[in-house]
């Protein structure tokens, strides 16, 4: 029996979330290809350089907010209902949060498209970070608010399901998938408060003319209070898959449930008090607090290193179950021709590289060398662009049939797709990193200046541009292949009989019974997380507020 047969109502919500996610992925990905060709001067016929920034805003918002978070909502709904073995309590409430998220996302997207389509009277050419004093149309901010509120409601839906389960199962350990969902959402509530305050109390009234000016440094700081933990909101669903599903795909079992819990708790504690590492070159923030952010960030490496160990150990276990032997020979026994496995494994591999380039970003004074250069997008296309995106695509191959009841179609296309993505991303990201070392700026439609020549550290600038363009085209190809497979599966014939599928997840080698109960004490970890945030942000924020909530203020500058 597939999930869609066991949980028909919830399967529908999972389907909707994933479909919206994949639609956002398609549009955002198309924009990405346009950008890759435009900024490298390979082809500038799609949009003008001024409209490039509308495309860039769309790329960032559609992919980094809507694709990732709708995918998370689909995966977490599936995970909670499956691991607790009960449906979400109220279909109406579930539809409500989806509705908020969808309407919010649609509104924001329409305002962004207004920069490209003259007949839409709104405009939001402010990029995914929407820094004041640049001002977008109030509808943009409103859309974001609705979307975020929808995610809060989604979290409440999952918590409620858990509380009901708890009522029937006192004293039991929280099933691992639900544990991960709850911890992730706690992190989200804490961190999204920053951007919610920024938009609700400052940017939205300011864009409506209710308040006259806002303090750009304060609003920027509130954004980055949220802006770092949001990357964990993208990453933790990928880890959720790597820990709970990938071992099965490899033919094995999760090496350690307790360590998985430790990793997620570490993310809850450390995700937020690091935001200043996005503001190392900002004035107005004392160096001591930048240093604290730096040390916290370096310690954030730990949960990822632990994950690397556990995931590889789990896969190795699977390979040996399939007959693998030798120190490294077991790698050959893994199902590399199975798209769900291959995608997740390649995503994990690429994430390691992304983590290392992130270390450079985190290195405070080292950051001077690459801040706001093309190195930074090189880094995050490895992390959110592959670790998250490729995992979500790969697990789509495995999950989509189970939530629709339809067989996966075009398997041979799906088999090749993760590899195309991996090669394309290597080409593009490698060249972006090198371009960043030369000082070439990010977020720029035409990084070719009369006054400035860039000197490549390894390889020449024109060769880097070409590599970025080729990588971008390959990625777009990979994306189209993925959407083709999903589309073909979705439309592929009607369900004649229930899909025979084994969707059960094996128990871990080292189960929850081996993990200290304190790990399940969510209140404790939340409290510690809040203390760490006060230590990291308390003084700098009060300094910014001391001279006035809105001072030094800037009036809106519409773009």
């Amino acid at each position: 029996m597939a999930y869609v047969d066991d949980f028909p109502t919830d399967a529908r919500i999972v389907r909707w979330n994933l479909l919206v996610a994949f639609t956002a992925l398609g549009i955002g990905g198309l924009f990405g290809m346009i950008q890759a060709l435009h900024r490298t001067d390979v082809f500038r016929g799609f949009v003008s350089s001024a409209d490039y920034y509308s495309v860039l805003t769309g790329h960032g918002v559609l992919l980094a907010l809507f694709f990732t978070i709708f995918a998370l909502c689909g995966l977490f709904t599936w995970g909670v209902t499956k691991s607790l073995d009960r449906p979400l309590p109220s279909a109406r409430f579930t539809m409500a949060w989806f509705g908020f998220m969808f309407v919010g996302a649609l509104t924001a997207t329409v305002t962004i498209l207004g920069g490209l389509v003259p007949s839409i009277p709104f405009n939001a050419d402010v990029l995914y970070t929407f820094y004041a004093p640049m001002q977008a149309h109030p509808a943009f901010y409103t859309g974001l608010v609705l979307f975020i509120v929808g995610t809060w409601m989604a979290g409440f839906d999952w918590f409620r399901t858990y509380w009901r389960w708890r009522g029937d199962n006192p004293g039991e350990r929280i099933p691992l998938q639900t544990f991960m969902v709850l911890v992730t959402m706690l992190m989200w509530y804490i961190s999204s408060a920053g951007v919610a305050v920024e938009v609700l109390f400052f940017l939205l009234p300011w864009s409506l003319g209710i308040i006259e000016s806002v303090d750009p440094l304060l609003t920027r700081t509130l954004f980055w209070y949220f802006g770092h933990p949001v990357v964990y909101f993208w990453l933790m669903p990928a880890y959720f898959i790597w820990y709970t599903v990938l071992p099965k795909l490899a033919g094995g079992r999760l090496f350690s449930d307790p360590l998985a819990r430790v990793v997620f708790v570490l993310f809850l504690l450390l995700s937020t008090p690091v935001g200043f590492h996005h503001q190392y070159t900002d004035p107005g923030i004392p160096e001591g607090f930048k240093f604290i952010a730096m040390t916290n960030t370096m310690f954030l490496l730990l949960p990822s290193f632990l994950t690397a160990f556990t995931v590889v150990a789990s896969i190795e276990h699977g390979a040996r179950q399939r007959g693998g032997s030798g120190r490294l020979g077991w790698l050959r026994k893994l199902p590399w021709d199975e798209p769900a496995f291959a995608g997740c494994a390649l995503a994990g591999l690429m994430f390691a590289a992304g983590g290392f380039s992130g270390i450079i970003n985190a290195g405070m004074n080292i950051n001077y060398l690459i801040h706001n250069t093309l190195w930074v997008p090189g880094h995050f296309h490895l992390t959110v662009g592959t670790a998250s995106a490729l995992t979500f695509m790969a697990i789509g191959y495995w999950l989509f049939p189970q939530i629709t009841g339809k067989r996966l179609r075009l398997r041979s296309v799906a088999t090749v797709q993760p590899y195309i993505w991996f090669v394309g991303m290597t080409l593009m990201s490698n060249a972006m990193h090198r371009a960043g070392l030369a000082g070439i700026p990010r977020r720029t439609a035409e990084p070719q200046y009369d006054a400035v020549t860039f000197q490549g550290v390894v390889g020449g600038v024109s060769e880097m541009r070409l590599q970025i363009a080729i990588g971008g085209i390959l990625l777009f190809l990979g994306l189209m292949l993925f959407l083709l497979v999903i589309f073909a599966t979705w439309l592929g014939g009607s369900r004649t009989a229930p899909l025979r599928v084994n969707g059960t997840l094996p128990t871990p080698l080292s189960g929850p019974e081996h993990s200290p109960k304190i790990l399940d004490n969510l209140k404790l970890w939340t409290a510690i997380a809040l203390v760490l945030i006060v230590l990291a942000y308390g003084l700098p924020l009060s300094a910014m507020l001391a001279d006035g909530l809105f001072a030094p203020g800037s009036p809106p500058i519409p773009v």
């Binding site: 640049m134 750009p216 070159t281 490496l301 000082g439 990084p447």
Partner: protein, 168 residues
């Protein structure tokens, strides 16, 4: 909680790496003395820069080999920098005071580690040593509007004997 031996070793190695990275950054701060931009530049009213030292941006000599440069970043140029290059002599210590008259801009001297944000209302203060004569390009690397990609300038480090202070 049982932890596999390899996992313990791995965790220890990871912690060692983390501490090593923190030590590297700390060395950079203490040894070569690379300081981060902070709040020492103070705040300013972006709407009335004309009444501040930014009212007449440019290079001023403040000591034997010490100079100050006040730079205003605005849509879509640097003052000075775009219409005429910023000129300082070699073998000098130059303190830049950078702010923005409108939106957030970036100030990056390509190929160097002079890389700061120009935030309206705040002043970014950075001190740079220029040893050799050279010519540098300056790029705005923070999106600031539809002509962001046209915003650039130049910084020229002139041989000492050829330099004559431009006055304020």
């Amino acid at each position: 909680m049982e932890i596999h031996r390899y996992e313990k070793l791995w965790t220890a190695a990871a912690l060692l790496l983390i501490v090593g990275l923190i030590a590297t950054v700390t060395y950079g701060a203490l040894g070569p003395g690379v300081t981060m931009v902070d709040d020492s530049g103070g705040t300013v009213d972006a709407g009335s820069l004309g009444e501040t030292e930014f009212g007449d941006p440019g290079v001023t000599q403040t000591g034997e080999n010490q100079y100050e440069v006040h730079v205003v970043a605005r849509q879509f140029l640097f003052q000075p920098g775009t219409s005429s290059p910023i000129r300082v002599p070699a073998n000098s210590e130059v303190t830049f005071y950078i702010t923005s008259a409108d939106v957030v801009h970036g100030f990056e001297v390509a190929g160097t580690n002079v890389n700061v944000m120009a935030v309206p209302g705040q002043v970014s203060e950075v001190t740079v040593r220029f040893d050799e004569p050279a010519q540098y390009g300056i790029v705005c690397h923070e999106y600031c509007g539809a002509a962001h990609h046209t915003m650039a300038g130049q910084l020229v480090v002139v041989p000492e004997d050829e330099y004559s202070a431009e006055g304020s």
